[in-house]
């Protein structure tokens, strides 16, 4: 016969201070564990959502990001003629030749001159917007082609100085006016500034494109397009699916965050497990008499073991719930940091997903189990007579 669960619950309630302290230790560990995973998840999700499966990015061979890449106009016009390209409204090919550069902008709210960050300026063409349906204008208007006007992503508008609507930026001996703010949802484009490709190329004296983006006529035509680009002796370019391209960019950072998070939580959990162990040992020590009585009443060793294990699992469970509860508030926070791989600013949000919640709960229960196992074994192995005498 099993000892009722309410016995374990009542015990926790009886020693509230101890329970609260143990649970809060565990909750903090779960919080850190979940928060770091959420950060890695948010980063990856942002970059993966940035790309769409039907789009293909062409960059110079060996370049891991658009900033490093360069495509001469001649090469660009060869790529433009690929037969695998989709045709958009008005019978025009859905292809955008873009130029990507980095500029140093000052962050809002920091006065030190060194707190610059690198922001992507993307020179785009009309078709760029058709190729990226995620991008929507939220205020102001689009830039006029051929003018020194730009539109900025909402993460940039929020985080940096001088990029509000009607703000002006000075680059390349020209004054650029911000005429619109766009929202690209949870994608990397929200951290970019967009202007007319030809104007940007002129201003920065960069006579080459950085990348060519096009939509496939048929999603399966990718291999053919890739082969056409990479085997053409006139081209030194490579083609990637847009999703793959952005996933590659998040790899180093996400891996770094995951390793950091894992090693931290493993170390931290030692502390929390010890906390649970101390609590459970003292729970056992305080209740020797009770254990003896229960054994005398006919409860088996296994039932006693189960009762104490249940108690420590309960500790872990409450700790896990509390930790997740606080971690879920982290979703309101947007982090903005430099992606090591592209060297440019990227804003992303902590994202709590089902698997992360499950992992965190499982982790918390394991902490409870490990912490409670030795004390529960001690309780179960007590001899009836000695236990009764000790009381």
């Amino acid at each position: 016969m099993a000892v009722p669960l309410s016995y374990s619950m009542r015990n926790l309630w009886k020693r509230r201070l101890t329970t609260v302290l143990t649970v809060s230790g565990m909750a903090l560990v779960v919080f850190v564990f979940a928060a770091v995973l959420m950060m890695a998840e948010g980063l990856q999700k942002t970059l993966v959502d940035t790309g769409s499966y039907d789009n293909v990015v062409v960059v110079r061979k060996g370049s891991s990001s658009e900033v490093m890449s360069g495509i001469a106009r001649l090469q660009a016009s060869i790529v433009e003629m690929l037969p695998q390209m989709a045709i958009g409204p008005g019978g025009r090919r859905l292809v955008a030749k873009e130029v990507v550069i980095l500029i140093a902008l000052q962050k809002r709210g920091e006065r030190k001159s060194s707190s610059h960050s690198n922001v992507v300026v993307r020179g785009v063409q009309e078709s760029s917007l058709l190729l990226r349906p995620q991008v929507k204008l939220v205020s102001g208007r689009l830039f006029r082609p051929g003018s020194s006007e730009v539109i900025v992503g909402n993460s940039i508008a929020k985080g940096f100085k001088g990029v509000d609507l009607q703000g002006t930026l000075n680059w390349g001996m020209r004054r650029w006016t911000v005429v619109g703010v766009f929202d690209a949802g949870n994608t990397g484009f929200s951290s970019e500034i967009w202007g007319d490709a030809d104007q940007v190329m002129q201003a920065f004296r960069r006579p080459v494109y950085s990348s060519i983006l096009f939509r496939l006529r048929d999603p399966d035509a990718f291999e053919a397009a890739k082969k056409a680009v990479e085997t053409d002796p006139r081209l030194t370019l490579e083609a990637k699916r847009e999703t793959r391209y952005y996933l590659d960019q998040s790899e180093v950072m996400a891996k770094f965050l995951r390793i950091l998070g894992m090693s931290l939580t493993v170390i931290f959990s030692i502390g929390a497990v010890i906390g649970a162990m101390i609590t459970m040992y003292s729970a056992v020590a305080n209740r020797i008499g009770e254990i003896g009585t229960m054994r005398a009443l006919g409860f088996r060793r296994l039932s006693i073991l189960a009762a104490f294990l249940a108690e420590s699992l309960l500790l872990g469970f409450i700790g896990g719930i509390a930790g997740l509860f606080f971690a879920s508030f982290m979703q309101l926070i947007t982090v903005s940091t430099v992606n090591f791989q592209t060297f440019s600013e990227l804003a992303f949000r902590f994202t709590l997903s089902g698997p992360i919640a499950l992992q965190a709960m499982a982790f918390s229960l394991v902490m409870g189990l490990v912490g409670g196992l030795l004390p529960a074994l001690r309780a179960a192995r007590m001899k009836i007579v000695e236990a009764l005498r000790a009381a």
């Binding site: 201070l17 101890t18 302290l21 143990t22 809060s24 230790g25 903090l28 560990v29 919080f31 850190v32 950060m39 110079r60 061979k61 060996g62 370049s63 891991s64 900033v67 490093m68 550069i101 980095l102 500029i103 140093a104 920091e110 030190k112 001159s113 060194s114 707190s115 610059h116 960050s117 690198n118 680059w171 390349g172 001996m173 920065f204 004296r205 006579p207 030194t236 950091l260 931290l264 170390i267 931290f268 030692i270 502390g271 929390a272 010890i274 906390g275 162990m277 101390i278 609590t279 040992y281 003292s282 305080n286 982090v335 903005s336 940091t337 430099v338 090591f340 060297f343 600013e345």
Partner: protein, 385 residues
Amino acid sequence: MMLLKILFRNAFRNRLRSGLTIMGITVAILAFGLLRTVIDAWYAGVESASVSRLVTRNAISIIFQLPLAYREKIRQIEGVKHVSYGNWFGGVYIEEKNFFPNFCVEPKTYMTIYPEFVIAPGEMKAFLADRKGCVAGRKLAARFGWRIGDTITLKGTIYPGNWEFVLRGIYRGRDQTIDESQFFFHWDYLNETLKQASPQRADHVGFYIISVTRPDLSPEVALAIDSTFKNSLAETLTETEKAFNLGFIAMSGAIVTAIQMVSFVVILIIMAVVANTMAMTTRERIGDYAIMKTMGFGGGAIAMIIFGESLVIALTGSLAGMALTYPAAAAFGHSLSNYFPIFLVSRETLWLDLLAALLIAFCAAIIPTRHAIRVGIADGLRRIG
């Protein structure tokens, strides 16, 4: 003396519990120390940077270059001692995960401006004489087993193609804080190749490094350089090397802040554990305190005993943790040497460890002490176990 004896006796009355608590503190202090060291390692480039060296780069951002012609103009500015220049090459050795910083520089002036890179005179001569020559740090050479005379091929990411170099020298750092994992080669090699392959990219440099005659002249010299090139196609931004390096760290500021916060969380976690131990200890000993009160000891004496016990446990654990930080940092630094070339435990970290231990001890003892002082004598005596 008597008090100390009582404190130790009390602290180790329940050996198992105290042992576990001390172990927990040891782990926590170890984690705290390692995290602080990670942050220090992040800032290592700033610490070793000099304020008497200036870095000039394109004002738009570091991906834009400056004309080589600026060199002579900078040299004319008063207070400038030496001018060197170079480019970030960004080459990949075999695979991307083999990352190490590689630059092409004007070797003669660069090595004069950076006396902390120590290189044997014979090797230096061989390096200068060979345009395809390169110099690698001691740690970097050891990592890939390079020997002098080896041919090294880097795959260019910014400058396409495969680039071959001959290792002519291995530099050492003047002391432990110098990064020994960098790779330098002749700027001329890059430039001459670019002249043939893509002439419009040639004769441009990524950055100028300038040494000034007196460190206190740095701000004026920086200002003079920037105003010389104001309103030109390539405006410049000149900062001290320290500020320049700090700028890079400010970019990844969110991550540094996260690590910093996490290092405090571990202290909170262990605080909860120690507070739990102290709560149990006092709960068991309420009878003792009641007897002490009956004998005439005041609340102060009881508080001292509880705080002292907490302190004994916390300090024992943290001393063990501090002692373990050194071997752990050595092992950790070894496996992460690609990310953090400098990984040293600073004295400041040890002081912070100690401070954390004191904080843990005091915070953990507050609630139990209040409880012990408040309990009435009769109540305390009535309670058993």
